[in-house]
């Protein structure tokens, strides 16, 4: 009886040890993606899909706005345009968007327009509308689709990402990340000047 009891204690201890080792091993083996499967496109990253857009026609899109209305790239034909990918969780996006709003008004007479494409459309139209309202944004805000993301962002998840499209429909500049307001305005002016008068 005593022997059986001792054996049970030893067995139970051994089993417990195995389970703990197994849990530890599981931890050690775990590889966790933390930030993005893809990293942001950095300057000169010629492998990034988005950089391949420069000098080429901006990919066509037809997306829904917050009212469910279809908006297409072709709606902006003949106008210098910024296509700005942003997300509701993205702090630098929310710093930049009021600047884009300001420039969309300041350079409206030059035909300049801005369109925002929401990367995290899954948060819902209400949240997106609430966010843009607080930011004072009145330019069109569209809901992204996997195709639009593939065409423009390729494999990056970094936001904000902006595509500067001249009046001929060509992508003349691409920016990833937040810069200064002056830099942004300079690129808006270049985009307006590009493509001839």
């Amino acid at each position: 009886m005593l022997f059986a009891g001792l054996a049970l204690v030893v067995w139970s201890g051994w089993k417990n040890l195995r389970e703990r080792r197994s849990a530890m091993q599981e931890q050690q083996n775990r590889r966790v993606d933390l930030i993005p499967d893809s990293q942001p496109a950095a300057a000169g990253d010629s492998s990034a899909g988005e950089s391949q857009l420069r000098g080429k026609p901006a990919p066509a899109f037809t997306l829904l706005d917050l009212n469910g209305k279809k908006v297409s790239l072709s709606d902006f034909k003949g106008r210098p345009l910024v296509v700005n990918f942003w997300g509701t969780y993205c702090a630098p996006c929310k710093i930049e968007m009021p600047w884009l709003q300001e420039f969309s008004l300041k350079y409206a007479a030059d035909g300049f327009r801005v369109v925002g494409i929401t990367y995290d459309s899954e948060v819902g139209r209400d949240t997106i509308a609430q966010t843009t309202q607080r930011l004072g944004v009145t330019y069109p805000i569209l809901l992204s689709t996997p195709k639009a993301e593939k065409d423009y962002l390729s494999n990056t998840e970094a936001l904000p990402m902006s595509f500067y499209v001249d009046k001929t429909g060509k992508v003349v500049e691409i920016t990833a990340g937040l810069g200064s307001k002056d830099e942004l305005e300079a690129m808006v002016k270049e985009t307006i000047a590009a493509g001839g008068r």
Binding site: N16, E19, R20, A23, M24, E26, Q27, Q28, N29, R30, R31, V32, D33, L34, I35, P36, D37, Q39, P40, A41, A42, A43, G44, D45, S46, S47, A48, E50, S51, Q52, R54, G55, G87, T88, Y89, C90, A91, P92, C93, K94, I95, Y119, D120, T131, R134, E157, A158, L159, P160, E173, I174, T175, A176, G177, L178, G179, S180, E183, L184, M187
Partner: protein, 173 residues
């Protein structure tokens, strides 16, 4: 072809290691930097972490320490970001028999501004941070599952929210 990087973010591995259990977070070699501007490295953001159990007194309130590490060059929102539009870091616990967890105690964040907009202050975690977890546990070994939800940025860009599953291994005696 070049993508204009307005503010050059460091391309780094971003990794958070759950040292709660554990202890060694090992980033991939050569992680944090890229090479030349024309040939940047494109590392994958992964992390390996190992587990090492903690020991707490049984049947009375004790505090577990969950240690996390964020790879240099990145930050995540604190549990109390300054804007309600930002996603806070939170720890969600799974039920574990014999363990009564209390509310996680989050550390205070530190102020952070994006370099191009020094006036805009955010509240973030960077480097190492510890979440303390009060528990009352029955004697014995325990493994409690949890998920850290966070949203990371570098010095110019932000990335979608992520979930990091962890296992909190400890002995109560």
């Amino acid at each position: 072809m070049k993508v204009t990087r307005l503010i050059q973010a460091r391309r780094a591995f971003v990794s958070i290691a759950a040292l709660a259990l554990a202890v060694g977070a090992t980033a991939q070699p050569g992680s944090a930097q890229f090479g030349s501007m024309d040939a940047p490295a494109k590392p994958r953001a992964t992390v390996v972490y190992a587990a090492e159990p903690q020991s707490v007194p049984a049947a009375r309130r004790a505090m577990l320490e969950l240690r996390f590490q964020i790879v240099p060059g990145f930050h995540i929102n604190s549990h109390t970001p300054k804007s309600e539009l930002l996603i806070p870091t939170t720890l969600n616990l799974e039920p574990e028999t014999g363990v009564k967890p209390g509310a996680p105690v989050y550390p205070a964040g530190e102020p952070y501004s994006f370099p191009s907009v020094p006036g805009e202050k955010l509240d973030v975690y960077a480097g190492n941070f510890i979440i303390r977890l009060p528990v009352v546990a029955t004697p014995g070994d325990h493994t409690m599952g949890a998920t850290l939800k966070y949203q990371a940025c570098d010095n110019a860009s932000c990335y979608p929210p992520k979930s990091l599953p962890i296992k909190i291994v400890f002995i109560a005696k």
